[in-house]
Symmetry: C2
Subunit: 113 residues, 2 copies
């Protein structure tokens, strides 16, 4: 894809619109690809990213409303957290709204050019 | 202005949307800034670009419908050509339509992302 003769790829568009770093986006994409809830340890294994990175990224994704966190009680007491991507439709809609606003800024400027 | 975290400027957007080279865009901008019809020699002086560049660029601008050419008869016989920018409103509208189509391509891709 191109915009103003600059090559842009979809990952770049989504990452930028959601304000994520490269590592956060990598974690985000992995969650997107998974159907089931996973623990941070699971995701660390699946992405090959260290636990701290996965934890930090997941926290930010939760804050941004991109990731849901669930508390599961263990049979023997205590609990652990599971994570899964938030509503995919809503995320897509959010990204599209932001990208639309970028275009609108360009278009506004063109009106007075 | 930004699009997908890439800095873009308005000149770049317009130049790219109209498919012009740097020199062609420079000539185009000069015509845009002028109210009166000018000869190629006038424009060459005003832009500091050599006559051949101005001539080539102007020809392309005429072909693209961005520039109008007028034939003026000389009092002593013969004629010369004068040039002025085509309908500014139409040009702006053309650019906006093209930029909109770039955004639509990105948006289409996001729908299936």
């Amino acid at each position: 894809m191109e915009f103003a003769c600059k090559q842009i790829d979809l990952d770049e568009v989504v990452k930028c619109s959601l304000g994520l770093t490269r590592a956060e986006y990598r974690v985000f994409k992995k969650y997107m690809a998974l159907k089931n809830q996973v623990t941070l340890a699971d995701l660390s294994k699946k992405t090959g990213l260290d636990r701290t990175t996965v934890q930090k990224a997941s926290l930010k994704l939760v804050e941004r409303g991109l990731l849901s966190r669930f508390q599961h009680n263990r049979a023997r007491g205590g609990y652990e957290f599971f994570y899964s991507i938030a509503d995919r439709k809503e995320i897509r809609s959010k990204v599209r709204t932001i990208v639309r606003s970028w275009w609108e800024t360009v278009d506004d400027n063109l009106q007075y050019w």
